[in-house]
Symmetry: C2
Subunit: 468 residues, 2 copies
Amino acid sequence: REEFYEISPADFFYRNRDIAGFSNPARALYSAVRELVENSLDAGELARRPPDIYVRLSCDGEKGEEGSSVYTLRVEDNGSGVPARHIPQAFGQVFYGSKYRLRQARGTFGLGGTMAILYGQITTNSPVHVISSADGKRIHEYTLMIDIKNNRPIVLKHKVYSNHNGWRGTIIETKLEGEYSRAMPKILEYFRQTAVVAPYANLTFVDPKGRLYRFERATEAMPKPPVETKPHPYGIDVETMKRMIAVTQCRDMVSFLREHFHKIGRTIALRFLLEEAKIPPKRKPKRLSNEEIVKLVKAMKRFTGFRAPSADCLSPLGVELFRAGIVKELKPEFVSVKQRPPSVYSGYPFIVEVAIAYGGEIPRTGDIILYRFANRIPLLYDEASDVAWKVVHQLVNWKYYKVDPSKDPVAVFVHVCSTKIPYRSVGKEFIADVPEIEREILNGVRDVARDLSLYLSRKIAVERERQR
Amino acid sequence: REEFYEISPADFFYRNRDIAGFSNPARALYSAVRELVENSLDAGELARRPPDIYVRLSCDGEKGEEGSSVYTLRVEDNGSGVPARHIPQAFGQVFYGSKYRLRQARGTFGLGGTMAILYGQITTNSPVHVISSADGKRIHEYTLMIDIKNNRPIVLKHKVYSNHNGWRGTIIETKLEGEYSRAMPKILEYFRQTAVVAPYANLTFVDPKGRLYRFERATEAMPKPPVETKPHPYGIDVETMKRMIAVTQCRDMVSFLREHFHKIGRTIALRFLLEEAKIPPKRKPKRLSNEEIVKLVKAMKRFTGFRAPSADCLSPLGVELFRAGIVKELKPEFVSVKQRPPSVYSGYPFIVEVAIAYGGEIPRTGDIILYRFANRIPLLYDEASDVAWKVVHQLVNWKYYKVDPSKDPVAVFVHVCSTKIPYRSVGKEFIADVPEIEREILNGVRDVARDLSLYLSRKIAVERERQR
Ligand SMILES: Nc1ncnc2c1ncn2[C@@H]1O[C@H](COP(=O)(O)OP(=O)(O)OP(=O)(O)O)[C@@H](O)[C@H]1O
Ligand SMILES: Nc1ncnc2c1ncn2[C@@H]1O[C@H](COP(=O)(O)OP(=O)(O)OP(=O)(O)O)[C@@H](O)[C@H]1O
Ligand SMILES: [Mg+2]
Ligand SMILES: [Mg+2]
């Protein structure tokens, strides 16, 4: 009498789209814009071309229920483009993408762009247009819908044009129900904060009223691109180990460790196998028994001799870039920026960068203003559930730094970059309070708070001097 | 050069298991216990048999890294059992289950039980044993693992026994890495709070130290079971409409509306089609054009003539049961319990039940203690991100009710039941601040706070009288 059945990933996120950030027309408009802009920024960094991103939101004129309407959202970029054979699945299938690797990127789940299109489809029944060139020779234009029940793209049309000026990039145009008046402050704030952490990007936004917002690039210099890395032994588990063993060509344990793991040299591999794992170095990986695999994984987590992961797979903002973005946006009287040394949680390397700004155009809001970023993405929702909020509002003793949060115009900026940001949900809005990350944010905030406190003491001293 | 590929739902939740509540060994132990106990409670309510649930957690003796160990978790119930042909997928496939329907249940996503087993497998490489009888005639024993890459069960063994005493129920035994010392307070609290909202269940828990915890049922009376309902027009979107049209046998719009939707009678259907949707009643549903489908969905959301959804698909605790559970656990000096009338958000009916308790064994913690429940599940994490916390700590003016949160021993209990609880993430720990739900919780808290304030005034008056 109980009916059992399976649902596809697209069906799951269709039924639970609020979990992915598409809970109501205003929030869905914000989420659609940010998911597509983040894809375009990733594509620009991949192509190592300063991104020119153009976003147009126009109202199709039909008033929906209580203030919502149908909008057309168009996002154009000059990034890497999407290879033609992957376009249908990249946009028409949930859990399909190119970001499933150990390298810093905004994209993580293989879900965001597809969700924007899915939401558009279920509210307007219209297909999405994707125009892209990845090789500069041909331009491919697809008209797609999503077969939600089966998590598959439906290609309605596919045209190919020759590419006369070698353009590379991607254009997405989709219709969706939204409510711009409520979404507008968040959308504009998203662009403003993106300009701070991606100052090499030109962002143009035309809103439904035809107003043009331009965020001009402050520099042509692109950040050093992150390099894909291999898994670190501290983060390994039985499943990953079994997959490595299944694909390995290595015929002994030493070369297996050196080939598949991050920074394990011959000496360390031998020491680990003989002293900790107690597995003969000559053993064939494919011949390990199930018990030996479990023993090996446990030994890897215990062994203290592995080198800390390097940060080549990360691409932090850097102190200069971060400072430049903050100064440009808020023109503060004082700024201090610190980059913490690379750290690691569960085998994933991460870097925390913290800044504090005082005065200038920072408003007095009765509390410290917190700006949060992860892998160069601004996080604008669920502040009180984020680890950075916990640090800034619960763990730091501001009095000690001569700061009165209720009176002083202070803003704190926290940027975390990692090969895996521990988001608490697929909506990418807040970060879990992983102990290692919490500790680094706390240390970073204390570093910059110390600088501010010196500045404020000097300021008070100068003021007293003047008054005599 | 960019590698595109797809990942299965099991692979997705393997890589992002922290999103599902399996972030570290202590938390994973809690999540595994709660997911399996919730499955057993759902099964008992389905079978309409007062649940007897036995949970044993034993330590396998191997110390893992920093305090974690391998545990064996065994959960036995006398519920509906799982039909043999569905056992492999119910436990070995993500997004497979029997809870994808419009009827109140703890299960929602088709993910929880499978996650517990997946986590056990990747930390211990051991299979799970599932023993079940759904018909009372045969007992099926499966030994399973999960093919994570392909989201498919792997059946290692399947034995069938004859069932001599007609037992019905399910036994799950799995090995997993955990850390009981850190998880213990939460696990015990989970059982305690479950006893409050499922007082018809016997819960027995044997912990790794061999200590026995018994939560005896307070009543044999089972709640009235929820009845599956049809979608309400206010919650409809284009995708659901297209699926109904694809399966319908109806050959005109009036019977289509009456057949597929919740409580639409002939008169209302005609009025809606003629006045609001402007679609001829004789039209064949399968002949509707895409534009007409969109027009129909929009009209459904606008039309004010549909009847509010009934609450047959819900199964609230009821004032008596809620009061009994609270009195049994906290023996307060005063309790007031209120059930709000059925309400609806996005077409999903819901009922809010609120209680306030004062004195007795309620500790003074410096703030109001908040107990949260959703579909009879205790929510123990992420309190500050939950809509109930926002209401109790930010929206209610306690001074007005003569309550000083920092001094008075006050506990507030909030239970929300719905055909779709708007959880913020698949870990089922906190609820989104959907405006309709927030409003009902606020009204409920004010209702019971008013009663408490009367009690406290009388108490103060009596005290003054005595002192003269
Ligand atoms: N504008 C674009 N330019 C180039 N490639 C793109 C663009 N948009 C999407 N893609 C490709 O399509 C894939 C899927 O995009 P989608 O947003 O659905 O997932 P994702 O970005 O990988 O992960 P996330 O869910 O975290 O956003 C990406 O991995 C990327 O390879
Ligand atoms: N103890 C049990 N007795 C009877 N049926 C069970 C039991 N445990 C699991 N099932 C069945 O297996 C299915 C899958 O369980 P699972 O926990 O993975 O998902 P769910 O309970 O449907 O949803 P959720 O992810 O919200 O828990 C259930 O829908 C139920 O039909
Ligand atoms: Mg993306
Ligand atoms: Mg379940």
